[in-house]
Symmetry: C2
Subunit: 247 residues, 2 copies
DNA sequence: AAGTGGTCTAGACCACGAA
DNA sequence: TCGTGGTCTAGACCACTTC
């Protein structure tokens, strides 16, 4: 998957700056222009493509943002050295995840409580003493088998409506994402062995390797929710799509 | 981390289109403009900021690319519903990884072979029968303790110089990344239990949960290398940075 | 000092799609 | 039909940086 093909999703007539971008990207990816190579100046490219400098600039700016070239004033633009391998990891909605596997999705609420946050939780969610949270435990099924165990805290100060929501039919994830507009999240991914509780809930044996994803979601500067998702390791994989990037 | 702050890395004087972008992003993230809200037309914004339409267009185009707004001809631009939670996951160079933890890094080659690819490997790397690969096993240390076990195949047809490279001092990852310009990669992340071999190599007990990352790297249409990295689960975490995105 | 990229303008034409 | 966004132009000024 190339940058040019991402930007123009199979359209019939790519715009001029997209064609320029694609041409240059092709030469870089093919090795014709190796790292360190100076690509033509904006003026030169504008002349080659018989277009204005702004059109060339648009293409080169996108290449620079993608990390394929580096732009230096007075010197020109250069093909960069690839450094780190970065990957765009998609963590999707669990329901969509299951259905994309062609299995039926089911949701079950195991426990629901409203209580004061303890010290550890207050620190993680950046709450004051006495703050109240909703504490949920639930399971997601793919077909008949448990697919994910979810432990979730919701900051009631951030989402007061959660107090009256039973969460017995609708999972907290989709419910929140409808209600809380645009959020930023931090993820942590680990491999763990299933403890007795997880083994019981996911119907696997104790010690089975599991993928554990912790996510903390912020909105407008305050933390809204803290969630831990545990997937049986052998039945779940995270697929990350490419992306060469510079560090 | 906001889009605007990413684009202007703490610079003193953000450009006008960055300021426009930041203003609009702020209203969306704060909830002032909820999903579905129509944001002002380009002409209106141009008038508000007393600038040309192109400047506004630059800001709105970036917001659209980031998925915060959706642009519909004849109707205007609208704040999108957040759908999937996507995350930008960084998979860094192992040496950088270790050193960022403040520990000394060490590398050890366990085995090196040059041989024909078997059927499974040929399929994964899209090779013809009889294709030759370099097969490596190595360990990466953080301090005195093994940190990562690496199994790697290199497609000799793609990187002939690998035949004469002993890989006893330099790890194949950095070596390849210097030599192979710009690549695309596919990742798969799983939790596994350490088998006898992994347990022995990583000096952990059998069955210990581990994070296993498979990566297949392509360059110019052909597969260059296939690598499996195994990290002890409790000592390694993948950190993914935010990123709200629409599906 | 000179040439580069960064930014911006005040126009323009077009395709598309909602009215 | 007609206004919107998508694209492009032919200029312009500026800051920066290397020469």
């Amino acid at each position: 998957m190339t940058l040019a093909s991402v930007l123009s999703r199979g359209d019939s007539a790519p715009s001029l700056h997209q064609r320029i971008l694609g041409d240059i990207e092709g030469r870089i990816l093919s090795g014709e222009w190796p790292p360190g190579h100076r690509i033509p100046f904006e003026m030169e490219l504008a002349a080659q493509y018989a277009c204005s400098r702004m059109t060339v600039n648009k293409a080169l700016s996108q290449l620079a943002k993608a990390g394929l070239i580096e732009r230096r004033k007075r010197s020109g633009s250069f093909v960069t050295q690839p450094h780190a391998q970065s990957a765009v990891l998609e963590i999707r909605d669990i329901k969509a995840e299951v259905q994309s596997l062609g299995m039926t999705y089911d949701y079950e609420l195991l426990a629901r409580a409203q209580r004061r946050a303890n010290a550890d939780e207050r620190e993680q969610l950046d709450l004051r003493a006495g703050s109240v949270v909703i504490d949920l435990q639930c399971r997601h099924f793919a077909g008949r088998r448990p697919f994910t165990y979810e432990e979730r805290l919701i900051n009631l100060a951030a989402v007061p409506e959660a107090a009256t929501q039973p969460f017995d039919k609708v999972a907290p994830g989709p419910w929140l994402i409808e209600r809380v507009p645009w959020s930023a999240a931090e993820h942590r991914i680990q491999a763990i062995g299933a403890d007795a509780e997880i083994a019981n809930v996911l119907e696997i044996s104790e010690g089975t390797p599991c993928l554990q994803i912790d996510r903390r979601t912020r909105m407008n500067g305050i933390y809204v929710t803290l969630v831990r998702l545990v997937y049986p390791g052998q039945t779940f994989e995270l697929i990350a799509n490419f992306a060469p990037m510079q560090s």
